[in-house]
């Protein structure tokens, strides 16, 4: 057996699952253009069960093992990030089953295969401590996302959104590669551990290294949707299949932050003076732009897209602080964000099933389907940071870490923006609870009910009893910084 193979068990498990899905896709009859009675839905069930199994397996996997000469490490931090992306994968798959079976029944296999490929990239990315592996995992995560965004290939909006995602994505990965080529060139190594040791010893003082660092930061900023690389976000979210958007809005963000923490904090922590000011500026700009543009949105998917950009701004500042506390809270925030944001998008999928994502479709939802209305209200309040939802603890703790770092002005700005955010979140709430509509109640299929139920459980669980989750996140961050 190849030494260190056990460290790669999780990505290999996902590859095996992808092969199984590919094989099942060939075996199951596929000619049906009509929604299938059940046999095609089995594909989605297989993927959901497999991902759930992989998620459960993370608790039995060995921690602190390395593979391929230290290029990949399976430590507490990678396991934490892998759990986040796998949870997002499970929720997205459950939410997709009805959608893909009605929209493109013949191409379900492709859809799940791409989802799994992207997940393989994300799980590897969480543990990548080597530049080449980092780049390969980054692309393995990104390229399937372009395909998934273009899944509704007969709809003009879908294709346009996918093209915008593709062009920004491809351009930014080239910029990132260009930056990494300088980092490799100056340090002469691709190992982040050796780079960190060299910086500690005071080596590699070169302006080209700073240039490389900033180019890499710009390239990675795209993946998380930071200003000024955010223009694709609302357009892609509007045009792409909603259950996939739920996934796109959290999983690549979490994996992107994992890569940024590995590269900038773990590897280039010695150069924080060079990358912290731009991260702060980008973070503040992202917060502002996201919140301001969200105010006037009548399309709920676009509203959630802009609000997501605003959240990323906060997270970027937390990432830039790079202390054990701020990174731990960042990790907790990401977990809370998975359940909250995916829940909101999954409800948006149910409500906007006929293709109308505007607020009109949400009128009177609380009367037409009280459960769905209440669930969405909870997700919105959690996004807005109202007590006893997961988002409250995430936001308040992040503000607390800003305060600890002596950045009171960001806390103040954040508080003002949080009030602004409540205003636009509650516009959706008003539509659901006060406006009336004669439209029939939306139908929620069984897998979708399970997915929304899981999101609700996550938001409430982390909101009412956040302590174990915060401790888990803190331990992951502490392990990374050796604290």
């Amino acid at each position: 057996m190849i030494p260190g193979l056990e460290a790669l068990a999780l990505p290999l498990l996902l590859v095996a699952l992808a092969v199984a899905v590919l094989a099942a896709d060939l075996v199951v009859p596929w000619r049906a253009i009509e929604p299938s009675g059940g046999e095609r839905r089995g594909l989605g069930a297989l993927v959901a069960a497999g991902l759930l199994g992989a998620l459960a397996a993370t608790w039995w996997l060995p921690a602190d093992v390395v593979a391929v000469g230290g290029a990949y490490i399976q430590d507490g931090f990678s396991l934490y990030m892998q759990r986040i992306v796998l949870a997002a994968g499970v929720l997205a798959t459950l939410g997709s089953i009805d959608h893909v079976d009605t929209r493109f029944p013949g191409r379900q296999g492709e859809y799940y295969l791409m989802l799994l490929s992207s997940l393989v990239g994300m799980t590897v990315l969480a543990g990548a401590r080597e530049l080449i592996l980092l780049v390969v995992a980054f692309e393995l995560m990104g390229i399937p996302l372009y395909v998934l965004a273009a899944m509704q290939k007969r709809q003009a909006a879908g294709v346009e959104g996918a093209l915008k995602l593709y062009l920004t994505g491809a351009a930014s990965s080239v910029v990132m590669l260009y930056g990494l080529s300088f980092i490799f060139g100056i340090t002469g190594t691709t190992s982040l551990t050796i780079i960190a040791q060299g910086l500690q010893a005071g080596a590699f003082q070169d302006p080209l290294l700073v240039l490389g660092l900033l180019l890499t930061l710009a390239g990675m900023g795209f993946k998380v949707g930071a200003v000024p690389f955010h223009m694709w976000v609302p357009d892609t979210y509007q045009g792409a299949p909603t259950p996939f958007v739920a996934f796109l809005s959290v999983a690549p963000k979490a994996a992107g932050f994992a890569a940024m923490i590995r590269l900038f904090v773990e590897g280039m922590g010695g150069m924080r003076d060079a990358w912290w000011p731009p991260v702060l500026v980008i973070g503040l700009a992202t917060m502002l732009v996201g919140n301001v543009f969200a105010i006037n949105q009548d399309n709920v998917k676009r509203l959630l897209a802009w609000s997501g950009i605003a959240h990323i701004g906060l997270l970027l500042i937390g990432f830039g602080l790079a202390t054990v506390e701020s990174l731990g809270i960042l990790l907790f925030y990401l977990a809370a964000y998975v359940f909250t944001n995916m829940g909101a998008f999954l409800v948006a999928e149910v409500v906007g099933r006929d293709g109308d994502d505007s607020l009109v479709a949400w009128r009177g939802l609380a009367r037409r389907h009280p459960g769905l209305g209440l669930a969405m209200l909870l997700f919105l309040l959690s996004l807005g940071g109202i007590p006893f939802a997961a988002g409250f603890w995430a936001k308040i703790l992040l503000f607390w870490s800003f305060w600890q770092a002596g950045m009171g002005f960001i806390v103040l700005l954040g508080a003002v923006l949080a009030v602004l955010a409540l205003f636009y979140y509650l516009r959706v709430g008003r539509s659901m609870f006060i406006d009336r509509s004669e439209a029939p109640a939306p139908k929620v299929g069984l897998p979708m009910s399970i997915a929304i139920g899981l999101c609700l459980a996550g938001v409430l669980g982390m909101g009412v009893y956040p302590r174990p989750f915060i401790e888990l996140a803190m331990a992951a961050a502490a392990g990374l910084l050796g604290g």
Binding site: V159, A171, Y178, G185, G239, N299
Partner: protein
């Protein structure tokens, strides 16, 4: 041949060439209206990366940079293949691949 390599252009020259190529690619990316031309510009930028990597590799005297460049080439190919597929979808819908036609989504 070895003499040419020893006395050939130095690292700075190669980096400048790559930088120039990268800037030309960026300019093309921002100004070209035809989507295929945009992809070509991306390709120029990607090749700037490869020149950088190979030049650094030779400067350090090991093959790591060349390995990196090979991976970079493969990744770019995969990326461009998906890009061309998306451009075909655009063409089927609009009978054209001019970038300024894509303005349905706004706000």
């Amino acid at each position: 041949m070895n003499e040419l390599l020893a006395n050939g252009p130095g690292l700075g020259a190669w980096l400048s060439l790559a930088g120039l190529l990268f800037c030309i690619g960026t300019y093309g990316l921002l100004t070209r209206k035809n989507l295929v031309a945009v992809l070509c510009s991306l390709e120029l930028m990607a090749n700037a990366v490869n020149i950088n990597l190979v030049a650094f590799s030779r400067f350090h005297g090991d093959e790591l940079g060349q390995v990196f460049a090979l991976f970079s080439i493969a990744l770019t190919v995969a990326e461009v293949a998906v890009g061309l597929a998306i451009i075909i979808l655009v063409y089927r819908q609009r009978q054209g691949i001019e970038i300024h036609e894509l303005t349905d989504l706004r706000g």
